[in-house]
């Protein structure tokens, strides 16, 4: 696979790892946060940490769009799905995410018609094919996904498809990074920047991280060599005493992002004054809602939504994990009460969630695994 296989090469990884090792100052520990859950997934799936020296730790950030949906919003979505004549559509990622009254899968078992789609356009197609039903698309994701939702709403409007609406849960990445940077209990040396969000927003919005907080940020691709290289570039900056935004992923990410994508988001959506992030609490200007002029496609206006807040289970330490304050295994319920089959927190559900990635791919004594796999 072009643009994929080249970046999974073990020999190049070993060479890069050697460079990384030489860049580490003896006695110093480095902590880099990969903001994006996609990076977390890559790191665990490819066993990337095996190439990192002990001095470098990767800290998992809040960039898993599934993980940050508060339980109350899941309940709202299920409430909509259980209205008569509704077909709820959703990406597969949401199916097992628990709200206060169980997950989409549980609601299906109770009788709700919830269908998995690959694209919001598929949800629109379902609406077209089921004129007697009200089809709702559960929109989640950062700026990566928001343009697709917006394009779909525009298309629905153009075609006059009246039985389609969007339950908008899109969030924006910069306020989340800011929240991390402002959290008192975390010390980071630099960031691995979210590659696919950046195809939309570009690299400029990260400038404040280098300028105001003095931390390097390297926008990175999603193959393991991309991530490894971005660690390398972080370390190079640190060793040179610099803090800048760099674009490791220039093959995909234009420095200025995708203006058309930003324009369609802006046409269809506007910032919400406040939005609750699971584990992180309310963050101002951190999420999108459908604009008044597209009210006809806004499930929040069409349906009478309870909108209740559901307190996270007491045991849940997702907030600390999302902020990178705790490693997944440090959560008291990790792997015992909270597992992918019986998730307490959302980080255990999405394959981008730090807890799930760690549990599925990494949960085990690294030494014993290394020993066993030595060839």
């Amino acid at each position: 696979m072009r643009f994929v296989d080249e970046y999974r090469d073990a020999d190049k990884a070993r060479a890069l790892a050697a460079r990384i090792a030489t860049l580490c100052e003896p006695g110093r520990a480095y902590k880099f946060m990969e903001v994006c859950g996609g990076h977390t997934h890559t790191i665990y799936k490819h066993g990337l940490e095996d190439h990192l020296p002990a001095a470098v730790t990767l800290v998992h950030g809040p960039g898993c769009p599934v993980c940050v949906i508060p339980m109350g919003r899941v309940d709202d979505a299920i409430h909509i799905a259980e209205e008569p004549g509704v077909i709820m559509t959703s990406f597969g990622d949401m199916m097992r995410v628990p709200g206060g009254r169980g997950s989409f899968l549980d609601a299906m078992a109770r009788g709700a018609d919830i269908r998995m789609v690959y694209s919001p356009l598929d949800a629109l197609k379902i609406a077209r094919e089921n004129p007697g039903k009200r089809v709702v698309f559960m929109a989640i994701g950062f700026e990566t996904t928001a343009p697709s939702t917006a394009m779909t709403v525009l298309r629905a409007a153009a075609e006059g498809i009246a039985n389609f609406s969007v339950f908008c849960n899109h969030v924006t990445i910069i306020p989340a990074i800011k929240a991390i940077l402002d959290s008192p209990d975390l010390r980071l040396d630099g960031f691995i920047g979210p590659g696919h969000v950046s195809t939309v927003i570009g690299c400029r919005p990260y400038g404040f991280i280098a300028e105001s907080y003095g931390k390097p940020l390297v926008v990175a691709g999603f193959e393991p060599l991309d991530v490894l290289q971005s660690v390398y570039q972080n370390l190079v900056q640190l060793s040179e005493g610099r803090a800048a935004v760099e674009n490791q992923y220039a093959r995909v990410v234009p420095w200025d992002g995708n203006p058309k994508a930003l324009a369609v988001i802006n046409e269809v959506m506007e910032l919400r004054p406040h939005f609750e992030w699971r584990g992180l609490g309310f963050i101002s200007d951190s999420a999108l809602r459908v604009r008044e002029r597209y009210a006809a496609f806004d499930a929040e206006r069409i349906f009478d939504i309870p909108g209740g807040r559901v307190a996270d289970p007491k045991a849940c330490q997702c907030g600390e994990v999302l902020k990178g304050v705790l490693k997944p295994w440090e959560c008291k319920v990790f792997g015992t009460a909270c597992t992918p089959e019986t998730p307490i927190g959302t980080c255990m559900v999405s394959s981008e969630g730090a807890c799930a990635a760690y549990y599925n791919f990494g949960r085990f004594s690294r030494d014993r695994v290394k020993e066993a796999t030595r060839t």
């Binding site: 549980d106 998995m116 990790f334 549990y359």
Partner: protein, 353 residues
């Protein structure tokens, strides 16, 4: 507690008795992953417990006779490379073959939905007859039920099979030993991806066909080529895929399974579809592929035997059994790292994140 201690505690937790916590059956209970396993252990095994059922293998073997069953509910009923009829015959033939048996007799029970086209039924039974002929088995008994429209999905088929096990042959997942080689009989995931795409909802096209086929010819060759005890266990990698099968081996034998990612044969189109949908071919169902665990010293002979048969032409050694850590499947990635390959929780759902 430090990380090592936490991980030890988790491993202990994982070995606790499975318990179904849901009040209602969800699709996850049928997906072949952890929820399925939990349902089987907590409800079925708990109710029916006996030494023959307990291994939860492809079938049961007693007095030289192997016995197995499977229900087929595939959607769509017809897909590139086959239909529910081939599957229903080949699947049960294969479960018998995986017990080390020579499949002999099949039963076929049909649940038909009111309104199902008789022409489709004829096509299905025609394929079954053809598949039975190819596998050398006879369909000797059957049943037909018709349910009201909306109480089935066209046609469900349940086959059961009886086969004869030669005296020397005793296969068991628990027989896997450190040093054993793990062989897959060909490229994985074709069937699962083919069917997923054939449903049409994803609008993805690919030149893929299901590999559905009877594997008893292949297993006979393998058992012939290696001495009796050399073949530890055979498994067809159906629902849950190769990953699930190997987890069962690791668990049953309390050994580690160590895979080499680069050795695992996957067709480009399967890989492409999986990358696009965010799923892992290791969990995708096959219907004509098996995993064999053989004595490491017989790996070469086993591979030769398999490759000499058209259905084993793409056979490859993909890993080995190690002693530690027991109960885990590990993967050495192409990137040079390592990771666990765990049992899947639910369906391998297309994901965007």
């Amino acid at each position: 507690m430090n990380e090592e201690q936490v991980l030890e505690r988790i491993e202990r937790a994982r070995r606790r008795k499975a318990r179904v916590r849901e009040d209602l059956i969800t699709l996850a209970h049928g997906a072949g992953g952890k929820a399925t396993r939990t349902l089987i252990e907590d409800v079925f095994l708990e109710s029916f417990r006996n030494p023959l059922l307990e291994p939860l293998a492809d079938g049961a073997v007693a007095d030289g006779v192997a016995f197995t069953t499977d229900s087929y509910v595939v959607t769509p009923l017809f897909f590139p490379g086959g239909n529910i009829g081939d599957l229903a015959v080949n699947g049960t033939v294969n479960d018998l073959a995986m017990c080390g048996a020579r499949p002999a007799y099949l039963s076929a029970a049909f649940i038909l939905e009111e309104g199902f086209p008789v022409a489709d039924l004829r096509r299905i039974t025609g394929s079954m007859a053809e598949a039975a002929r190819e596998a050398g088995v006879t369909i000797v008994t059957g049943d037909t039920k018709v349910v009201q429209r909306g109480k089935a999905d066209g046609c469900y088929i349940t086959t059961a099979g009886v086969g004869m096990v030669d005296p020397g042959v005793r296969l068991s997942a628990s027989a896997a030993e450190p040093g054993d080689a793990i062989i897959v009989s060909g490229p994985i995931g074709d069937h699962g991806v083919t069917v997923m795409l054939a449903r049409g909802g994803l609008d993805i096209e690919a030149d893929l066909v299901s590999e559905t086929a009877p594997l008893n010819g292949l297993t006979a060759r393998l058992l012939g080529a290696c001495g009796g005890g050399q073949v530890r266990c055979l498994r067809d990698a159906t629902r849950g895929g190769v990953a699930t099968v190997l987890n069962e081996v690791a668990e049953a034998a309390r050994v580690a399974v160590v895979l080499d990612e680069e050795a695992i044969p996957v067709r480009p189109a399967v890989r492409g579809a999986c990358e696009l949908l965010g799923i892992d071919p290791l969990y995708v169902a096959c219907e004509g592929r098996m995993v064999a665990v053989v004595d490491g010293r017989s790996a070469g002979a086993a591979l030769d035997a398999l490759r000499g048969h058209p259905l084993g032409a793409g056979a490859a050694v993909v890993g080995r059994i190690a002693e530690d850590p027991p109960g885990l499947v590990l993967l050495r990635t192409g990137f040079g790292g390592t990771r666990i390959v765990d049992v899947l929780v639910g369906d391998p759902l297309p994901r965007i994140c």
